[in-house]
């Protein structure tokens, strides 16, 4: 192992070492404050360790990992988001009677899985990362053991995710059988040379589409999303919606661009259909929902549909659009879920739309952050969501993907309707629900997220420029 190898693995080692240390500490004493503080510290250290990687990239640890600007950017947002989720979990965990400390251990392993995914360049690391992530999530989703729907969500996710993992694994097996390689680059060589896939290969890829489709909650593999979003503890839902989706998207982008799937008509057809269905069904089903978590769940389905468009662009600008969209989506979703988390109390999980009536007149700051997040999801200017959609439409037109672009536009209008519904609720005459007070740390998270949403929406040049320096894969 060279020095560069070692350096590149530092973030992994910090995030992997932290839970071990935590377990040891818990074995001696159960001090919640200490554990919480330690977790924050570990994430912060892990974040700053990324900067030490900068001089050595791009670097490959053959045949498992690749560390380039793309991986590092994802490392950064995954760790930062996890840090915020830790802060958000704090108050939420206080409602839990016992076993609060283990939560952070599992949060770390989930983050570790996500990090591995964003640097994976091999089926082995892809699968390892995905399983580390999924298994952690089974536990996290069912963490509120006393709650019925938390367990329901946990079991649902457990079954569907393991089935989808099985699909994924089987698909990988078939592809390996045909190409004899587990590395993305190795598979790419075989795929490039044939436009007509061998049946084995086609079967393998289709199985993988099912597996990945489940993880990203794309139509028609989206059934679990609303229930899990609703049943899981809100910070965990936040994690699923942001970190987990972002990491899976990262590896999907890397894999798809490596094998140049956008050149193959099978993929083009498959992705076009899945993308349009996800946008349409996600948005249509969101319209009638009364539960804010379910609305956001369906909205995430639609958003993943928008993101799929970037897969077919087939140039490095398309990749840049995708990265910008993921970043912007993660910030925005983090904002929306932070509000829900911070407003939930021991006896009330603020998830019904009605609970939010007149929030603006009671808690103007929180409502403004929520409104910004919703406007960003709807893609209205001055928010990052607008720039992200603009980027996709822009590159979509550049690549001539007219059907997908027009479908995206139509769906934005449909989506607008239910986002407006939530916003209208926020500004309608207030009800008599008393929300718990929000800690300074909570305010800080909201403030940072709102600034992020506005900053990327008004001055996107900095980050766009940063992303634009990435080479294609």
């Amino acid at each position: 192992m060279t020095r560069a190898d070692f350096l590149c693995l530092t973030p992994f080692m910090i995030i992997a070492g932290a839970p071990i240390l935590l377990m040891l500490v818990i074995a001696f004493t159960r001090n919640y404050r200490v554990i919480y503080g330690f977790s924050l510290l570990a994430f912060i250290i892990a974040f700053f360790s990324i900067f030490f990687l900068l001089p050595v990239i791009p670097h490959t640890i053959a045949p498992l990992f690749v560390f380039d600007g793309f991986s590092l950017l994802f490392f950064g947002i995954i760790i930062i988001t996890s840090l915020f989720i830790t802060i958000l979990s704090n108050r939420y965990l206080l409602y839990q009677e016992s076993d609060k400390e283990e939560y952070f251990i599992i949060l770390f392993t989930a983050a570790l899985g996500s990090l591995i995914l964003s640097a994976a360049s091999n089926f082995v690391t892809l699968f390892l990362g995905l399983e580390t992530l999924s298994i952690s999530l089974y536990v996290l989703i069912a963490y509120r053991r006393s709650q019925g729907n938390s367990i329901e969500a946990g079991v649902k996710y457990l079954i569907l995710a393991s089935v989808s993992s099985a699909f994924l694994l089987f698909g990988m097996g078939l592809i390996y059988a045909d190409t004899g390689s587990l590395e993305f680059s190795g598979i790419a060589k075989i795929v490039e040379s044939s436009d007509q896939f061998a049946p084995l290969l086609l079967g393998g890829f289709s199985m993988m589409v099912v597996g990945i489709g489940f993880k990203l909650a794309l139509v028609p593999f989206h059934m679990w999303t609303p229930d899990v979003y609703q049943g899981a503890p809100v910070p965990v839902t936040t994690f699923i919606a942001t970190v987990s989706k972002g990491a899976v998207m990262a590896v999907l982008l890397r894999f798809f661009y490596a094998i140049q799937g956008f050149r193959n008509h099978n993929f083009i057809l498959m992705i076009t259909v899945i993308a349009i269905l996800s946008m349409l069904i996600g948005n249509l089903l969101a319209i009638r929902q009364q539960n804010i978590k379910r609305i956001l769940a369906y909205s995430s389905i639609a958003n993943m549909g928008y993101l799929l468009v970037t897969l077919l662009m087939g140039n490095k600008e398309g990749l840049h659009a995708a990265v910008f969209y993921v970043i912007s989506y993660m910030i925005t979703t983090l904002g929306a879920f932070s509000v829900i988390t911070l407003l939930s109390s021991r006896d009330m999980f603020a998830d019904q739309l009605e609970d939010y009536k007149g929030l603006f007149w009671k808690r103007p700051f929180v409502a403004i952050v929520f409104t910004l997040a919703l406007l960003s999801l709807a893609g209205i200017p001055i928010t990052t969501g607008f720039m992200a959609k603009f980027y996709i439409v822009f590159e979509g037109i550049n690549s001539g993907l007219w059907i997908l672009v027009i479908s995206l536009i139509i769906n934005s209008v449909i989506g607008l309707y239910y986002y407006l519904r939530v916003i209208t609720t926020l500004f309608s005459p207030p009800n008599d629900i008393n929300f718990p007070s929000i800690s300074p740390a909570g305010h800080l998270v909201l403030g940072i997220v709102a600034t992020g949403i506005l900053f990327l929406g008004i001055f996107p040049e900095g980050i766009v420029h940063l992303i634009a320096q990435f080479p294609g894969f």
């Binding site: 603006f360 007149w361 406007l375 209205i380 200017p381 001055i382 607008f386 439409v393 822009f394 037109i397 550049n398 672009v405 027009i406 536009i409 934005s412 209008v413 607008l416 309707y417 407006l420 209208t424 500004f427 996107p460 040049e461 766009v464 420029h465 634009a468």
Partner: protein, 529 residues
């Protein structure tokens, strides 16, 4: 830089208004008034210090990089047209703040925040010389307007605000697609990828592509204007909005559509505009007549006034597609006069509603005796609406019809019938509200000093516009060639073209004759039929 300040002052004013509302109800109002007054004064300075020479008629041209990766710049520029519309924006902004003084009691901070945000968005639209920036501002004004309707509106406000938002957003996205397509077409043919308006002018593309792209722009502008099949959002939004909202909607928001036609559609797509002209004029005539008919049949006074907007905006699109200077001048005049007169009518309705708590004209009547000052002002504005000589709207409609007459006699005659219809609905307002028998024993008071001041100044402006329109005409004059030159050139070449068949389809319908020398040729062609 001063142009950027115009917008920034409004934005900061809005934020300050929202913050200071905590301490006082009065502070947001004063801050809004101050911000708008400062802007108005700055605008006067810009007008006084203008240099029309060179720089293709722009008084000030300010440019700064914004997102260079995509070729987006913060490019603002002002000329006579923008100046007039900005003056209108700030003035009506002041009026909206003043009329809300007593009407809005709750959440004053957020109310004034929204007002100033809308005005900032509108000012941005009138100043942007970069298509991306233009779209950015175009969308920016929607959200606060949505809040204005959905929070401070009347009974059916939620429905109206959704409708407003979704209509305008959907049509705006179509324009956005067109902007992007234009960007790429220009980029691919010249290698310069930019959203800059002046560079995108004269992009070469095939006629059919230009036509499709133009339709994208038209979707946004015709919904805003609105033109008849797309006008559905307007009566609801106008009726349900608070008075200040209605004034801004009718006085400014609709005008952004007209501005878009003049500034973007005609110069960017001259060829496509010429072939769209017959349809455009027809839509205008339909709007004039249909709007007037619907206005006549309303019993809700506010809805009635809303439909008169549809009718008056019909004149705007009619004038735009006449492609000559006098019609162009008429369009500008109509934009201003309609903003003042309809704004004033909405204010009148608001004042009436405050007193009698109904907008149903069948329940009113005989109010003149109780509130003579309001009655007199109501009479002036109704007369303005029907186009009485001596008032601004007369000049506007007269110019438009004169200009259109050169382009299409048939359309002009039909449009003139709209004036008769306008007389009917305008007189109906006066008759039902102020004259006739008194239905109920109202116990009401006449206008307060503040209200007299607002409506009085609007009345003075409308009379001034009617008597001394030359100032406006002179201000706009340098803008006319920028807008119409490419089209006049095209019409000329078109008539010279030996392709008779093509000519017939475009010119037979409207009888469009531009160049006096060509008159004979065109006439002969018609007789060939």
């Amino acid at each position: 830089m001063i142009l950027l300040y115009l917008i920034l002052i409004l934005l900061t004013g809005g934020v300050l208004a929202a913050i200071t509302a905590k301490w006082s109800r009065l502070l947001p109002r004063i801050i809004s008034l101050a911000a708008l007054t400062v802007d108005l004064i700055l605008l006067i300075f810009i007008y006084a210090g203008r240099e029309t020479s060179g720089n293709s008629g722009w008084w000030i041209d300010y440019r700064m990089n914004w997102i260079p990766t995509f070729g987006i710049s913060l490019h603002l520029a002002i000329d006579g047209l923008s100046m007039l519309l900005l003056a209108l924006t700030f003035f009506l902004g002041l009026v909206s703040v003043l009329i809300s003084w007593k009407e809005i009691h709750e959440k004053t901070g957020f109310f004034h925040f929204n007002i100033l945000m809308i005005l900032a968005g509108i000012s941005g639209v009138f100043l942007s010389m970069d298509l991306f920036l233009f779209y950015f501002f175009w969308e920016l004004m929607l959200v606060p307007m949505y809040f204005l309707i959905s929070i401070w509106g009347h009974e059916n406000r939620i429905y109206a605000s959704y409708k407003f938002f979704i209509y305008t957003q959907a049509s705006g996205l179509l324009m956005f697609l067109s902007i992007l397509a234009l960007y790429f077409i220009h980029g691919r043919s010249t290698g310069i990828y930019t959203f800059d308006y002046q560079q995108l002018l004269g992009t070469s593309m095939s006629a059919s592509v230009a036509y499709i792209l133009m339709l994208g722009f038209l979707a946004a502008f015709l919904v805003k204007l609105p033109v008849v099949p797309l006008h559905n959002w307007l009566p609801d939004a106008h009726t349900e909005a608070p008075t200040a909202g209605s004034v801004i909607l009718a006085g400014l928001l609709l005008k952004t559509g007209a501005y878009g036609l003049l500034r973007f559609v005609l110069p960017l797509f001259p060829g496509a505009s010429v072939s769209f002209a017959p349809i455009g004029m027809l839509l205008g005539v339909i709007g004039i007549l249909y709007g007037a008919k619907l206005a006549f049949s309303q019993t809700d006074l506010k809805r009635l006034v809303a439909y008169t907007s549809v009718s008056h905006m019909g004149f705007v699109i009619l004038g735009v597609y006449a492609f000559n200077e006098i019609a162009f001048q008429g369009v500008i005049m109509q934009i201003i006069a309609h903003a003042i007169s309809t704004g004033a009518l909405f204010i009148l309705v608001g004042q009436l509603y405050e007193r009698v708590h109904t907008r149903d004209i069948t329940k009113m009547g005989g109010l003149w005796k109780k509130i003579p000052v309001m009655g007199a002002l109501g009479l002036i504005f109704s007369m303005a609406s029907l186009g009485l000589p001596g008032l601004g709207n007369f000049i506007a409609e007269f110019f438009i019809l004169t200009g259109t007459f050169k382009a299409s006699i048939l359309m002009t005659s039909l449009a003139s019938a709209g004036l008769v219809a306008a007389t009917i609905y305008a007189l109906r307002i006066v008759q039902k509200v102020f004259l006739g028998k008194e239905n109920t024993e109202w116990n009401i008071h006449d206008l307060s000093i503040r209200e007299k001041f607002i409506s009085g100044s609007l009345a003075i402006i409308i009379v001034y516009l009617g008597l001394f329109p030359q100032k406006i005409i002179d201000t706009v004059k340098p803008v006319v060639p920028k807008t119409l030159n490419s089209i006049e050139h095209l019409l000329f070449v078109d008539s010279m073209d030996s392709n008779i068949k093509d000519l017939r389809t475009t010119h037979m319908f409207t009888g469009m004759i531009k160049n006096p020398d060509m008159k004979i040729i065109t006439k002969r062609r018609i007789s060939l039929k």
